[in-house]
Symmetry: C2
Amino acid sequence: MASEQRLQADIDVLKQISELCEGGTTRIGFTSEYRAGAEYFKSQMERAGLSVREDSIGNVYGRLEGIEVGKPAIVSGSHLDTVRCAGAYDGIAGAVCALEAARMLKENGVMLEHPYEVMGIIEEEGTRFGQVLLGSKFAAGHFLDPDKDLMKDSRSGQTLREILKKYAYPDACPALRQTNEIAAFIELHDEQGPLLEAEGTDIGVVENIVAISWLTVTVTGFAGHAGTVPMPLRQDAATGAARLISYIAEYTTVKYAYSATATIGRMQLIPGSSNCIPSRCVFTIDLRSGKMSNIEELIQSIKAKAAEIAGECSLEIHVNIDSRQEPIKMDGGLRDLIKQSCEKLGYSYRDIDSGAGHDAMIFSSRWPAAMLFVPCVKGITHNPEEYVHPEYLVKGADVLYQTILALDQKE
Amino acid sequence: MASEQRLQADIDVLKQISELCEGGTTRIGFTSEYRAGAEYFKSQMERAGLSVREDSIGNVYGRLEGIEVGKPAIVSGSHLDTVRCAGAYDGIAGAVCALEAARMLKENGVMLEHPYEVMGIIEEEGTRFGQVLLGSKFAAGHFLDPDKDLMKDSRSGQTLREILKKYAYPDACPALRQTNEIAAFIELHDEQGPLLEAEGTDIGVVENIVAISWLTVTVTGFAGHAGTVPMPLRQDAATGAARLISYIAEYTTVKYAYSATATIGRMQLIPGSSNCIPSRCVFTIDLRSGKMSNIEELIQSIKAKAAEIAGECSLEIHVNIDSRQEPIKMDGGLRDLIKQSCEKLGYSYRDIDSGAGHDAMIFSSRWPAAMLFVPCVKGITHNPEEYVHPEYLVKGADVLYQTILALDQKE
């Protein structure tokens, strides 16, 4: 069984390695704080008897060789960077549990057929260069060497190449992984949502990383004095927008309760004076679902309702689709192994979609990849209050360990 | 009958006396443009045979003496200042029609019992010192000499006293009017709303300058990741706000169609990221009605609905009343005279509430005061496109003239 004490000690130390930030952790890629966090993680991997290396982009690895020479590695890990003023678990929980699985292998004297690699991934959150999943994209070859000149640091304006000149070690290994080096990638992560905790389920087995569509809605009416235009003669952009937003939330909740989300996160009224009827309202819609067809249906439904409201309220409503990303399915074989491991350990589990992007979706483009979620309190994330009960960290590490054993036998 | 040509010439000249501003007019109190506009207006009053003076705050007057010595004056006028990039009629129409009434008196050889004064009022819009109705407040004694040290110019930081040292003439008459100097104040204004034009009514006889209440609503939910919190588990501040806004607009329209307004002019989502469920939504409500009881009922209804939505959506909703201003009733006797004048001239009229504040409401605190509205196209105002058809300016000046004659006989 995984050690609660070891897991919690790693979480607690990494929580403290931070820029000044009240109650939370700020450890952004390529900073001195990130260097300190990566060095701590490397020291713990070394202590566990792993052979440690760092690649040219700043991802760190700890490797246990397998019995059979030349077999591809089973890789597990997650990111070590955080958003500003983050909690202690997003990413970190997965890296620490992957390390704990290695310690369990050593402790139990298990020799795998395959090599096992723990991976601490850099700059998943995209805070530094506005590019999420940066470390995994270099590992999987989505980004290549010339891309280092194209990315600019949002603070200093320096390119990634200039930043790496100071940050990376001269003897770093190449970031790009060859296809035959890796057998599978398994990532543990906290759910960042409230579902598992609300149900009392131990483990979420990720089925899809959801499809995401971003829309911008522009409602155009006619500005007027708040006191002089009678209600029936108004073309009020705020009122039309409010009706559409109410509809979107209710329709999505009733029809797609747990299978799609619709979020209105940004909104602007123009001209934005308290005594002026708004001539324009612009708002964003973030649509997510495990099934692209759900997104398509939602877009249809939103457009139809927008046209109806526009007609009834003498408004123009334009729904623009800014981006559309297909869902990414996790590997079926790996998912079965995770479920079998849960059953073997007597832990409850359920299929779940990941509403957030994760490094596993980048690895899945080249290798079999899967994810398991552990519950976090109230689904709070990107917030100092993010919390995962230690018992769930232990259960997660146990399932990860069991899955690695099963995968090693299977391949 | 009033002269369309004279009225339009005054409107057209004053439209041109402006700071640089595309298609519109910017003539803010105490600027060189305002000085030029006031001098033009004074020159036209002199040309009409009026005895011209300027007071210490920059209000300008043209006076026709009455037959009987010592009678109080019938005063008519409106403001000569504009908002930034305004139309040509807001305020100006009333000043120019008051001047036209004086020209008609002269032209028709009418000698009134009372003196008649045309008044061009300074800084009604409040653009310069953040104090609306400034000129009329000094005339009515709402502001007194020491207040000149308390008001600061939003551009230069100078006090009104410092500004006046350069702007006002050393031989200016006092701004404060004595109670026994004025018999009544009558203000013509464009409606700034669409009602008269939509109905084809010539004249609006203002019953009330409406009661105004300003509210701030704060909806507090719980922030979360747009992808990881299922719809039924959300505490989404934007959705709760949208439901409340939809309700406010529909309830006010159905129950109070032409007798109250509710405007949501400002709104902010926090944190305001497209991929984050808003934890907070703050928006303003501007409520206006001729009857305070309508406002009170609307506030009750909004609070009740807010509590209902808060319960259903697990939100906190706080409705704060920032300000409450009672309605101001125009003088009943003067209103009757305006209506009788309309009937005599064969012009259509209706009772109407003014949703905007006007100088007449300041005068009404000390003297009988009334207002008549002329239709403006589509209700557009505070916009270069504001337009009053010349025939309605003529009808307005005719009614004003007729009312002055009637009032002179009555008092």
